[in-house]
Symmetry: C2
Subunit: 346 residues, 2 copies
DNA sequence: CAACATATGGCAACTTCTTGCCGGGCCCGT
DNA sequence: ACGGGCCCGGCAAGAAGTTGCCATATGTTG
């Protein structure tokens, strides 16, 4: 036990001990202390044990800055998300964080508020400190992304940028599942409520929906774009009320929920008059009434896969730039979809 | 314009330039380069301009690690939250991040998954790299917190730890507002659905509810504790069904929402049979049916205030350890509360 | 017992940047 | 004309680690 009594009225600011202090206290040289911690086996077991004990008594902790400087490894990863409060990103963040922690890495999470300017600034700030980058829902241009990817290993999420490794959900099968589900219920006319035009995912969803209906009977039309938020959903709902339609497939759950609320608020019944499907299965999709049927993706896996790949690259693996890594999707059936019951009330 | 053509098939790994490279290219000494960037005015304006131009052409960026080492300023703050996916924390995170960014600081966000072990580990890992710490909803003991607070300036949120600056919401007035609202509606019997025992906030809410009803007519009882989650709410709802009660005030919105769902699912009507009030006004409170009446707190402000105080301390201000900083609360009226309509159906 | 291999600790150089101090040139006052 | 201050650039010593290389001591082999 160390005497912690310090009578002076300056309680803070006792500089933390360095390997030099430990070295002196243990009667060895600084390099030996360094090795005792970072190069086990390189130093005699007893000496190492002794050093560790002394270090512990002194309250020594290695200074990660000083350590990183010579070895060029900060053990930090940047995770840049467009909106940290969008439920869509939660599990991605968790997955990334878990995978990173497991490997001894710390993740630097940055919320860019859907702004490509803020995104670039954040990158500017954090990039020099991290070994790799995960870009979730980036709002930057492909070319900016590619330039950045030259500086550090990078993985982009929910987007495909040629030349940069990416992780995406299986939109194709997701779209098909949604259509199949609705057709089983007897629907054969669909409306896709589009999200932001800048969204790669939005483009793909629309494409795949068309592909999934091509040739066969059912038809899908598209309205939008709308901001991918509750408010956007309300706007979309208004548009829908003016021009009723068959079943609705929305760009994401937020949009779907906002839209349902608007419709229900004006006397329409879901799913009796209108079936609604969203994407993502965010927190909230099970809360609304009726519960939202949605295409779920293993977002946690998206995050952990991304970090896993990043770490592999840092350990010398070749980046997977050819084809994106695809994670599967599944359909969560809730109450917002139901059998086709004739044309919706006007 | 620099010729960027490099024919070799090793596109990565061109070590980034240092002040030495810039110094050589500009024909000055490294220290001058350093000063040109970090000490404006100390060096001749023309020289500085020249250096900056050369640096830019070389693609030089200062290495924050190397910079931090001598000056002992990393420009990073740690924000440790018990659960980053709990909507309660969103605005706190945003507020903190904004305030930090504005001051040129980066925040290192860590999610501890409600585990005090993970929390200690995270702190262990990040503490040496940051200049200050914000602890939101810490699960650690008071004494552990106090020990940690000795190592770095710290602010705790939603909790009062003597000797450590803290920011809390005005629970007292919040509780009073909830009670007043319900009494205006004719209620005079209340049940507090308690959250985790370890929660400082929970204790305070219960205390203030009792204080708000003391002496006057209405009575408040307490059931719990329950985990502060949707599932916890379901459990609480079951308990409530067995022993019906007057109006319900829940520890937080998650609990309130889970509880409403359970009750409504079993034929009770909210608010006709039972009024429900939550705390926090999380995303989701406006989504459920009926919308949840809740005591809101300016969470964004909590986060930014915390960081603001931390930065002040880092700049030499005395930490505010006497009384906690209190931010006001307000009541958001939605549809989950209604006039007293006799005793609830059994 | 000589020759060689291995284990272990130390020296010093290195990572990138900051900063106290020094000194040469220049201006100014007397 | 000369001493005293600025201005501004450079030198070198840190900041806290890592690591290549060398020097022992010890062990092993022929």
């Amino acid at each position: 036990m160390s005497g912690e009594v310090c009578g002076n009225d300056d309680p803070v600011e006792r500089r933390s001990p360095t390997i030099y202090d430990v070295a002196e206290a243990a009667g060895v040289s600084p390099s030996t202390v360094s090795r005792a911690f970072s190069r086990p086996g390189r130093v005699n077991a007893e000496t190492a044990e002794h050093i560790r004990r002394v270090a512990h008594d002194l309250g020594y902790r290695v200074n990660p800055l000083a350590r990183s400087l010579p070895v060029e490894r900060t053990s930090m990863l940047a995770l840049v998300v467009a909106d940290a409060t969008n439920p869509f990103h939660f599990e991605i963040i968790r997955g990334a964080q878990d995978a990173a922690t497991k490997a001894g890495y710390t993740v630097l999470l940055t919320d860019t508020r859907e702004s490509d300017l803020l995104e670039r600034q954040a990158l500017e700030r954090t990039l020099p400190m991290v070994e790799g980058i995960v870009l979730a829902s980036s709002r930057m241009s492909d070319s900016t992304i590619r330039v950045t990817a030259k500086q550090r290993p990078m993985v982009v999420l929910n987007r495909v940028v040629t030349g940069v490794p990416s992780v995406v959900t299986d939109i194709s099968s997701g779209a098909r599942r949604a259509i199949d589900h609705l057709r089983e219920l007897g629907h054969d006319r669909f409306t896709y409520v589009a999200g932001p035009e800048a969204s790669w995912t939005d483009g793909m969803r629309w494409r795949e929906l068309r592909a999934a209906t091509r040739g066969t009977g059912p038809k899908v039309r598209r309205i939008g774009p709308f901001p991918p938020t509750l408010e956007g959903g309300v706007t979309a709902g208004r548009a829908l009320r003016r021009a009723p339609t068959g079943a609705v497939i929305a760009y994401n759950d937020l949009l779907a929920i906002g839209l349902m609320g608007e419709l229900i608020g004006h006397g329409h019944r879901v799913p009796d008059d209108l079936s609604v499907i969203g994407f993502d299965d965010i927190f909230g999709a099970q809360l609304v009434t009726p519960g939202l049927t949605t295409v779920a993706a293993p977002l946690y896996q998206v995050g952990s896969t991304a970090v896993g790949h990043l770490l592999a690259v840092l350990n010398g693996a070749r980046p997977q730039t050819e084809a994106p890594l695809v994670v599967p999707t599944s359909l969560i059936r809730r109450r917002s979809t139901g059998p086709y019951g004739g044309d919706p009330v006007k």
